[in-house]
């Protein structure tokens, strides 16, 4: 179990590090202790449109309220895109996701 947690956290940290270098993408929340889940927003592109685009690249993410309407309301946001990592994911998957997010912005430009 420890190795599973370690693996997924390494991937989440790698994703956070990579996504900081992409313009117009912001992470939502930055807790000291978190699960291997990262919520984010892409400027001007709705999370569902982000999810459909990534889905088209065979990258499955969630988008929407995530059953957290009161929290989102308090944060002044309507919905987020959210990636989560599991034992079968790799750093290549993270790279593929980051590249798809860069391509996504070109698609909507």
């Amino acid at each position: 179990m420890d190795s599973t947690v370690k693996h997924t956290h390494i991937l989440a940290d790698y994703f956070k590090e990579k996504i900081r270098s992409v313009n117009n993408i912001s992470m939502v929340g930055n807790p000291k202790k978190s699960a291997s889940i990262v919520s984010f927003l892409v400027d001007d592109i709705h999370p569902h449109d982000v999810a459909s685009y990534l889905g088209n690249s065979h990258i499955a993410i969630r988008a929407g309220h995530h059953c957290a309407q009161p929290l989102m309301e308090s944060m002044g946001i309507q919905s987020t895109a959210r990636v989560s990592f599991s034992i079968y994911n790799t750093t290549e998957d993270v790279d593929k996701t980051i590249n798809a997010l860069i391509e996504l912005k070109k698609f909507w430009a």
Binding site: H46, P47, H48, D49, S52, Y53, N56, A63, G64, H65, Q69, M72, Q78, S79, E103, F107
Partner: protein, 152 residues
Amino acid sequence: VTGDLKKLYSEIIKTHQSCPFHFEKRIDAGVTLKAYNPICGDKFELYFELNTSNEQSLTITGFSFYGFGCAISKASASIMVKSIIGKSPKDALKLCRQFLGFINNELTDNDLILPDEFIAFSGVRDFPERIECATLAWKEMEKYLNAEEKLN
């Protein structure tokens, strides 16, 4: 990008999402409807008046909408406002049923002469998770017009 995605986000949809028709908040509208999907958070308000024209028949006027939603739901609401403004409630209800029937693959061959702006949503039918987006505003309008029809 595959053809499926290009079909989903047709040029008509992209145009309406970036330049929506009558995208304007109103506080004094005769009728205000709320189209809300609590699962994804998309939320639009629809504003219009039911006016009596010279023939003493009702017409939908002053139609605008405002809110937050994905490209599909926003473009769909925009096209609905553009299609329905100036129509009678009876004709508007017919359009609602036509659009929803098209998205849900329920139309017969006789119904298949559709406006280009409806056909622009044909790609949505290949993305079942996006059907709720395409139908959000239309279902709310249909519900209102159905109730209106029963009253008259």
